[in-house]
């Protein structure tokens, strides 16, 4: 009598050669125990056959074992696949996020570079808008008149004598008026 005699829950072949059998039985503590034996002329195998596990029943047990474990494995595979997929999705999200951040970083860098270039331009090149304007409007009646009004309101001109004010009023060019102001400084 074998240790599993009278308590076998199932048994099945363990390899493709059908030379190993795994027996699942309950011990006295009602625990499921797995016990492996060899097919052949031995006491364990004879005890298993005595429990009704002939070749046909072992094949059925093997099929059931594979089916159950195949499902479990499939579930495991699916779980792992899902986990992997989620991980991959997360990875993709992270990759996309990284790509976006990289793009934003590049844009910021370009912006900073542009600002830097502007600053360099302003630093390295004189802003001559005012002088361009004077050159282009030096004899414009309207701009000349505006200049004269501005000049005549300057404290340094107000304090000057009548001839200076008169020369500013008579000026034919803005640059001429500036020259008069320059003499007062």
């Amino acid at each position: 009598m074998a240790e599993f005699s009278g308590a076998v829950e199932t048994a099945y072949y363990m390899n493709e050669d059908y030379t190993l059998i795994e027996i699942v039985y309950k011990n006295s503590n009602d625990e499921l125990i797995k016990y492996m034996i060899e097919v052949g002329d031995n006491a364990d195998y004879k005890a298993l056959v005595a429990e009704g596990y002939n070749e046909e029943k072992l094949v059925e047990g093997t099929s059931e074992y594979k089916r159950v474990h195949g499902r479990t494995f499939g579930e495991l595979v699916n779980t792992q696949a899902q986990s992997l997929a989620e991980e991959m999705l997360g990875m993709r999200f992270l990759m996309e996020r990284k790509e976006l951040l990289d793009k934003e970083t590049q844009e910021k860098e370009n912006q900073l570079l542009s600002l830097d270039q502007d600053v360099k331009l302003r630093t390295n090149k004189v802003d001559h808008t005012v002088y361009d304007f004077i050159r282009d409007n030096n004899e414009s009646k309207e701009e000349l008149f505006k200049f004269k009004l501005w000049a005549l309101e300057q404290e340094i001109v107000k304090k000057s004598d009548k001839s200076i004010k008169s020369s500013i009023r008579k000026a034919n060019r803005i640059s001429q008026g500036i020259a008069i102001l320059d003499d007062l400084i």
């Binding site: 309207e142 008149f145 505006k146 004269k148 005549l152 309101e153 107000k158 008169s166 009023r169 008579k170």
Partner: protein, 223 residues
């Protein structure tokens, strides 16, 4: 101190004003309250942004307060007829300036004005000898009361102003102006040289209405 011209239309005021501006180092305006100095004008649109008589007056007052002075020409009735409330400010503004005016027979002025109105101001002054001339013209009789009214308004305003000098129209020649302003400046303007009386086809009727409006005559046939 700066010269100003306060006058009525067709009295030679533009020529006198031209000398005043010249005397002020070309720092001045013509009829400053004309629409040509408004914001929508093509003439000075890059310079002035005036939208009202009030704003123009504020401009003048501001620069006077800064001891910056312009010579310009003022036709009182043209402004005061619609803005009587600013008269006291304008009177105050002209204080301290050398205010000049011109006397001319108002009938002659009204004939000249009627001619300009008839010819749509094609040549308001003889700048270069090219004067728009017509053989005859009709005086718009409906405008005569208004002409007289404005002349009287101008006269009343002038009575409130300290006048530095009054020119006789007939004496307002280039030579005399050169002497008065002590200058060799000559803008080259000439008298119009038109006989307004002989060209008017309704002179007698116009004169009757004019006299009635101006002097209150009760001798009019249609009265």
């Amino acid at each position: 101190m700066t010269y100003q011209v306060i006058a009525s239309h067709r009295t030679g005021s533009s020529l006198l004003n031209r000398y005043c501006i010249n005397d002020n180092d070309d720092f001045g305006f013509h009829e400053f309250f004309l629409s040509s100095y408004d914001i929508n004008s093509n003439w000075h649109k890059r310079l002035f942004l005036f939208c009202s008589v009030e704003e123009k007056l504020e401009f003048l007052e501001y620069y006077k307060s800064k001891d910056i002075h312009f010579s310009w020409k003022f036709f009182p009735a043209q402004v005061l007829i619609d803005n009587p409330e600013i008269e006291y400010r304008i009177i105050k503004y002209f204080q301290g300036y050398k205010n000049l005016t011109i006397v001319r027979d108002p009938w002659e002025s009204s004939l000249s004005l009627s001619y300009q109105s008839y010819t749509e101001w094609k040549t308001s002054h003889n700048y270069n000898g090219d004067v728009y001339d017509v053989d005859e013209y009709e005086i718009d009789l409906n405008k005569i009361p208004h002409l007289v009214k404005t002349w009287k308004m101008n006269r009343d305003f002038l009575s409130k102003i300290n006048i530095h000098h009054t020119f006789e129209y007939k004496n307002l020649t280039i030579n005399n102006l050169k002497k008065y302003f002590n200058t060799q400046f000559d803008p080259g303007w000439k008298p119009m040289g038109l006989d307004y009386s002989n060209k008017a086809i309704n002179l007698k009727e116009a004169k009757e209405i004019f006299d009635y409006e101006m002097y209150g005559s009760r001798n009019r046939d249609y009265n």
